[in-house]
């Protein structure tokens, strides 16, 4: 972001960065920054709260209205918004087919909620590497790896574990948002990795790939770094 601020300002256009990491703007010195200590991924602070978002914009644009003739200017927004790391309360489907791995059964059980979410939003974040139909197959592959199969012998649909996990999480999170309406930052991440069979299976497969000598980017980015 700060690089683009330098580049765009050098072209003669005034810029304001909504900064999410203060040390980065302190080092990179873009012309104008409003440091907002909000959940990463939510630079305007609170989804669905137009009044709060307008407060952030008013403060950001006020950095343009000064007599200053040089930067950098860094100001702190006066309110902190924190993530919510408690798993969201979201019902999971009951076991339907005991012959399937629990994570596969679960993913299939969430399909109706996912479909309703897509119908409402009219598009989906799923589809980088696999589509929604393939999500249960991905989880079946992770289940095999987590259960002891050599990861190099298991065909993972979509191949790229990072891209595949983007799709699996988007599938679960879009379904969950349809069921719960809204959620604090990271509370669906906590729900996915701590409450769902898919999340637990993913973490177990990730550990198995790591233990099996898999390349760092292949397993590490399957989940947030702190997990």
């Amino acid at each position: 972001m700060s690089v683009l601020a330098h580049v765009i300002e050098a072209a003669g256009i005034s810029t304001v960065v909504l900064a999410s990491m203060r040390p980065v703007v302190e080092k990179m010195r873009p012309p104008r920054s409003l440091y907002c200590e909000f959940p990463l991924g939510r630079p305007l602070g609170i989804p669905g709260d137009a009044e709060f978002q307008h407060r952030v914009l008013t403060e950001a644009f006020s950095l343009l209205d000064t007599t200053a003739d040089h930067g950098p200017i860094i100001r702190d927004f006066d309110e902190v918004v924190e993530s919510d790391e408690q798993p969201v309360e979201c019902a999971l489907p009951p076991r339907f087919d005991p012959n399937l791995p629990a994570c596969v059964d679960e993913a299939r059980g969430l399909r109706n909620a996912y479909d309703r979410a897509v119908a409402k939003r009219r598009h989906t974040d799923v589809g980088r590497a696999v589509d929604a139909d393939t999500v249960p197959e991905v989880l079946a592959a992770f289940h095999r790896i987590a259960s002891g199969d050599d990861w190099t012998t298991v065909a993972i649909p979509g191949k790229n574990t990072v891209a595949v996990m983007h799709d699996v999480r988007a599938y679960y999170e879009e379904a969950a948002l349809e069921l719960v309406g809204t959620a604090g930052a990271r509370s669906l991440e906590a729900w996915f990795f701590e409450a769902t069979e898919a999340g637990k299976t993913t973490l177990a497969a990730r550990q198995a790939i790591k233990d099996g000598g898999g390349p760092f980017p292949f397993w590490f980015y399957m989940a947030p770094g702190h997990r």
């Binding site: 256009i13 959940p39 939510r42 305007l44 993530s83 974040d125 891209a163 948002l177 809204t182």
Partner: protein, 150 residues
């Protein structure tokens, strides 16, 4: 340590490019200004080419587009806020409200999205795709750019 704290701790030691100086362009009065959004959230229209890992390019987002998806590769930040309300990343509805209230002059017709996860030297954005977007913004008469990260 929670996820955001872990990322912000990492950010303290993140290798960043340095600049000899800080460019400065004086803005017109906000009520006369054309305002655009440039984001590093790697959002894009659903039918656009997806961002590849290490993508140094950009995607253009028309002012009236709401069919936006999250194309960022990092699992280390919250993606759900954007799914709930795209304005929490890309405050396009807020800008339209500010224009209607005559707080800003007008909303630019085109906005731009990059992927924040870049090679450490970010030379492509610095020398290639960044200046290309700056030229497009100039073409649209943009006076002010709001930059939003994730």
């Amino acid at each position: 340590m929670n996820g955001d704290q872990a990322m912000r701790e990492m950010g303290k030691n993140l290798p960043v490019p340095t600049f000899d100086g800080t460019a400065w362009a004086s803005a017109p009065r906000l009520r006369d200004a054309t305002v655009a959004i440039v984001t590093s959230a790697a959002i894009h229209r659903a039918h656009d080419d997806r961002f590849s890992a290490g993508d140094t390019g950009y995607r253009m987002i028309p002012s009236d587009a709401h069919d936006l998806v999250m194309g960022h590769w990092s699992p280390n930040f919250d993606h759900t806020g954007f799914q709930i309300d795209l304005n929490v990343v890309f405050p396009i509805d807020r800008l339209h409200e500010l224009a209607a209230d005559k707080v800003i002059g007008r909303v630019a017709p085109r906005h731009y999205s990059f992927a924040g996860n870049q090679p450490d030297d970010v030379s492509a954005i610095r020398l290639d795709s960044g200046p290309a977007v700056a030229a497009e913004l100039k073409r649209d008469g943009v006076d002010v750019v709001l930059l939003t990260p994730v």
